[in-house]
């Protein structure tokens, strides 16, 4: 195909369907995708809470106690619960997609998908364990 196909764009008789605003409700895969994209909001929520915690820590023990009390309110408990579920969904869906992006080749052969996924989960477990160890030790 060569030349400028300008006639296609303005062809008066061809029918172009508009994409509905609700396209993501068409099937489960699309809905799952949009849900996964939404999880980033909750990842950001945890980041903001973390920054807030750091600020309280810098401001002294009184501010930190105030921060902790605020986190204990029902609103924050519910928010944390919901955010946790979304972040879990975020982690699991992305880990499962990892082998698509990482085509690791060893000695000319592609490493099987389950190995790539497994390494991700192992690293997750290991790091979570390390953090839990540091936090719970004291």
């Amino acid at each position: 195909m060569s030349g400028d196909p300008h006639y296609t764009l303005y062809h008066p008789r061809w029918y172009r369907r508009r994409v509905s605003v609700w396209w993501w409700l068409q099937n489960r895969a699309y809905a799952g995708f949009v849900l996964r994209e939404l999880t980033s909001v909750f990842v950001a929520f945890f980041a903001v809470v973390y920054l807030w915690q750091l600020r309280a820590l810098v401001q002294g023990p009184e501010a930190y106690a105030h921060f902790l009390a605020r986190l204990g309110t029902p609103l924050f408990l519910v928010l944390h619960g919901v955010a946790f579920l979304f972040v879990l969904f975020h982690a699991v869906t992305w880990f499962n997609l990892a082998p698509k992006a990482m085509a690791v080749r060893l000695r000319g052969k592609r490493v099987p998908d389950w190995v790539v996924v497994g390494v991700n989960y192992a690293a997750w477990l290991f790091l979570s364990g390390a953090v839990a160890f540091i936090v719970l030790r004291g």
């Binding site: 195909m1 196909p5 296609t8 062809h11 008789r13 061809w14 029918y15 172009r16 369907r17 994409v19 396209w23 993501w24 068409q26 099937n27 895969a29 699309y30 995708f33 994209e37 997609l97 698509k100 992006a101 990482m102 085509a103 080749r105 000319g108 052969k109 592609r110």
Partner: protein, 247 residues
């Protein structure tokens, strides 16, 4: 087993309709029939005015892609028996302009495909007397999956990003670009990256993953695009760390 199956087909006759409509045909049910056989039965026996594209009947030419009950499929590879009891809904591929009935215009894809240089790019061609460019089976294996694409465009029809951003280069074209990037004989990866890392390229993709699911040749365009992103990001970091042309 039913004796007949209802086939509900999109009709669009631009000379007399401004919008597509549906028409239902009753076709005989045969166990070994695919949707394309049923469409050909309609064309031959019931209504010669029905328009659709097909050629090879064996999943090689990539012309008979349509939406069957909402999912993009090659109609030569979709059995009637898998879509019982019917009615089976046959529509043209999404996001491409409909020319007539089930026929869509593919010019947009053809233009995008040439843009990504889907051929072997050499900085300097070797003289003919030096013989072929040799390749080991492992080197062939590195890109073979992506080379199986038959341009049937089911992946574009499954990609909501292409629907929302029609300027997006799209799954098949990027997978084919990656097919040449991974070819040991090719030296055009940087050239292609310049085109595909810009607007409308790989970063438009948000990894819905449906392109891979509908691909009849197991090309995995979604994987190709994500691997392309990784390579693109690595290239960018390298160019940042080694700004003196040592790349």
């Amino acid at each position: 087993m039913p004796a007949t199956v209802a086939l509900t087909v999109t009709r669009y006759r631009p000379e007399k309709e401004s919008e597509p409509t549906f028409q239902t045909y009753e076709v005989p049910f045969r166990k070994d029939w695919v949707i394309l056989d049923a469409l050909n039965y309609v064309k031959d026996r019931l209504d010669g005015s029905l328009s659709f594209r097909w050629s090879c009947r064996m999943g090689v030419c990539g012309s008979c892609g349509m939406k069957v009950n909402g999912t993009p499929k090659l109609t030569c590879a979709a059995f009637l028996s898998d879509h019982l009891p019917g009615p089976v809904r046959v529509e043209p591929l999404d996001y491409f302009p409909v020319v007539r009935d089930l026929v869509v215009d593919l010019t947009d894809f053809m233009r995008k495909l040439t843009k990504v240089k889907p051929w072997i790019v050499r900085k300097q061609e070797r003289p003919l007397a030096d013989g072929e460019y040799l390749q080991t089976p492992d080197q062939l294996d590195a890109y073979k999956q992506f080379s199986m694409c038959i341009n049937c465009l089911l992946c574009y029809s499954a990609c909501p990003i292409y629907g929302l951003e029609p300027t997006f280069v799209g799954p098949a074209a990027i997978a084919l670009a990656q097919r040449y990037n991974l070819d040991s004989r090719d030296e055009g990866a940087v050239e292609r990256l310049k085109i595909l890392s810009g607007k409308d390229g790989i970063w438009e993709c948000t990894f819905v993953g449906e392109c891979t699911k509908v691909c009849p040749k197991n090309v995995d365009p979604a994987g190709a695009i994500q691997q392309y992103k990784l390579a693109g990001a690595a290239h960018w970091v390298k160019s940042l760390l080694l700004p003196w042309g040592a790349r």
